[in-house]
Amino acid sequence: MAEAIVIIGAGPAGVRAARTLAKAGHRPVLIDENMRVGGQIYRQPPPGAERAPDALYGFEAAKAVAIHRALDGLDIDYRPETLVWNAREKVLDLTGPRGSERLAFDRLIQATGATDRSIPFPGWTLPGVFSLGGSQIALKAQGCAIGRRVVFAGTGPLLPLVAYQYAKAGAQVAAVLDTSSFATKLKAAPGLLVLPKLFAKGLYYLAQLKRRGIPVIEGVDGFALEGAAKPEAITWRRGTETGRIECDAVGAGFGLRSETQLADLLGCAFAFDDLTRQWLPTKDAEGRASEQHLYLAGDGSGIAGADAAELAGERVAWTLLGDIGQAVDGTRIAILDRGLARIARFRRAIEAAYPFPHRLHAAIPDTQIVCRCEGVTAGHLKFQVEQREASEMNRLKAYSRLGMGRCQGRMCASAGAELLSHWRDVEVGTVGRLRGQAPVKPVPVA
């Protein structure tokens, strides 16, 4: 009997994996939450709202179109608008246009992608505040800006890119506030030269922002919003220096975080990554998770970007084919592995250029909401640590409700862990991680 192969996620990694498997004679199931393939990076507008690829994806238009078309003519069991809300052993629970169903698999490729990483700041729960990725989706999928006068704040390679895309689309970008300093980036520049084209693109975005007279303030130590019902201005500080910029919307993000809940539910082993300060499912050099029938590819198991995701998606498909005794293309695999190694080196430089600014957590005021779903403030969390002796993330969750709401900690667990480690004065890698619980995302009582 043929192997039942399922791929979760139709971004660059999932699509490349599906293509490779289909060409090798399989008919994989490809499950995706979106309406169309492409993932977040190459997200396609809904039918009827299409625009030219150049306008949507800029430099990446060719890559985006290639991904969108990669499955044309191939026999794949593609299931869009479908959520995998639970997984245990070799069965997935799905909900989608066909209703609720269970899907058994022999082998599973998890290409679950990533979401923005948040750090709470005063005003971050106001309407008009979006994540950086959310700001980009509004532009790409809906063709609209998040506000009339927008500030982008945070850090990471997405920060100058989204600001540039907004400016290019004609939106008014009031400023870019980057927590990474110019000196930090300069130090990382030699490493970034591993991939000169990508490095040049980053410089281009910055140059374009400067050319348009958009202030780019680097090395910011924190920011806060003014405004009761919506953002009216953002104030920032850098050492003793402060500033105030009027705006009606903010796109904020601090790099990306891998979507790892399904890997957790499936029992994959995890390890703490000191560089990015995140827990990630472990994988071997060929993309196998700790459980041998499970595979990991793309940003869902460590942020490396879309190019790496394409390579890793194909790579992991070859691994799977080898594992089930099919012939593999060794030359092709060597090319993929070299490409992945090069990007990994570049990625370390990116992390050095845009380090996760965990120092910002120390300044979070007690009144600040950290867990949005459950309305848990930093002060309430501090109470659990100081009065109820919470020493570990699941205890903190049990006492405070942090991470118990709709998002299941996807948005707040990082800040919760940073705060817990700050108050207890221990390394963030020692405070544990939230246990995953189904459903990964809310499902209806029906």
Binding site: E389, R406, P442, V445
Partner: protein
């Protein structure tokens, strides 16, 4: 490195019963070391439904449950916080005439044990709770029952015990325990050796293993309750709710989330790994909508399980060892230990200090599972 401790009492298990026992023993002046493999109150004490209910219990449990109910009112003075205990009342619903007859008989029987239940007819039950579905034909109300937040209560007892001077060791898995004719010796992970005159086994789903070490083997099984919670909804379910048959139970917390349970999850106690089962979750969702149609379409945001000890007669084991002196067991609460926990702790402390308790616990004796032992003892 070996660390040696010599308390009067060693306790294996940091659930509510164990922590309450530690606290009560400290108040009577005994030294206590309590060990838990994880965190106190994180096992069955922390992942259960949160019902604080006397209604529906086996009649022989009512003396203990009534004693416990009084402690629930005093949690703030006893452990420093109320554990979100609310005396919301507990309504047990009948979905058939047979159910209703059962509730009527139970109410009459329970009255002899001092439990005041109010029977509610088909019209009145809908007047009281207009959101109930058509299948409900009547109910029984225990106005004095309630609900609490299980995640808070066990840890609060643990901290109170620690403040009172108990040595609480979390993340300390007990590996072996033995008796040398005089003292117990408990060896735990990390090189801890506890030598004590008394040993209390309150290790929950793992307690059967501890009992085995001393020849007190009991027919304990494992329960894996399947728990689910919705997103916060406008508050309207003002009582904790159960049904005849117990296949669905629910309550709405102050914040608005509806917590419901029913059926069994999946669990492997050897791996110490448990998970909700989709079939159980979907089964309780169907029953939930039958009871309260307005909940259709609400979003489920989380589900969970844990391990609980279960006895064949659904009654806990509480009492002295059959084989050794100064060894006490309390386990196998069969899914309704949360409410009992505070009183069980006090009873255990009395058995240690006074050698007896005024609360009637005869029905929970270990001997009931050893007829030969019992009869032999009677003859002797």
């Amino acid at each position: 490195m070996i660390e040696r401790l010599n308390p009067d009492v060693a306790i294996i298990g940091g659930g509510i019963a164990g922590c309450a026992a530690a606290l009560a023993l400290r108040k009577r002046g005994l030294s206590v070391v309590l060990m838990d493999k994880g965190f106190c109150g994180a096992g069955a004490s922390g992942v259960n439904f949160g019902g604080v209910r006397r209604q529906g219990r086996s009649l022989v449990e009512l003396p203990l449950a009534t004693r416990s109910r009084a402690i629930w009112d005093r949690l703030p003075e006893l452990v420093g916080e109320d554990g979100e205990f609310r005396a919301t009342g507990h309504v047990k619903l009948a979905r058939s005439e047979t159910d209703m007859a059962f509730l009527e008989k139970y109410a009459a029987d329970a009255a002899d044990w001092g439990l005041d239940l109010k029977l509610i007819g088909p019209n009145a039950v809908r007047d009281d709770h207009p959101w109930l579905g058509r299948k409900v034909v009547g109910a029984s109300l225990c106005a004095d029952d309630g609900q609490a937040n299980p995640r808070l209560v066990g840890p609060a007892f643990a901290r109170a015990a620690r403040r009172a001077g108990a040595d609480i060791r979390e993340l300390t898995r007990v590996e072996t325990a033995s008796f040398d004719g005089e003292n117990f010796e408990v060896r735990a992970a990390g090189g801890l050796v506890v030598e004590s005159r008394w040993l209390i086994n309150v290790a929950g789903a793992w307690a059967g293993k501890v009992a085995d070490w001393f020849g007190d083997g009991m027919p304990i099984n494992t329960q894996v309750p399947n728990m689910v919670v919705t997103e916060p909804l406008p508050f309207f379910i003002d009582r904790s709710i159960g049904v005849c048959g117990g296949d669905i139970y629910l309550r709405q917390v102050d914040r608005g989330n509806v917590v419901f349970g029913g059926g069994a999850g999946w669990g492997d106690i050897e791996l110490d790994r448990s998970r909700p089962r989709t079939e159980a979750t979907q089964g309780s969702i169907a029953k939930l909508i039958d009871l309260i149609p307005a909940l259709k379409g609400a979003m489920v945001i989380r589900s969970w399980t844990g391990f609980e000890g279960e006895m064949p007669d659904q009654l806990p084991v509480i009492g002295p060892s059959l084989t050794l002196p100064r060894l006490l067991h309390a386990f196998g609460f069969s899914g309704h230990g949360f409410q009992l926990g505070p009183a069980v702790g006090e009873v255990l402390s009395e058995l240690v200090v006074d050698g007896e308790t005024l609360t009637d616990i005869k029905a929970f004796a270990l001997g009931r599972f050893r007829p030969s032992w019992q009869s032999g003892r009677c003859k002797g």
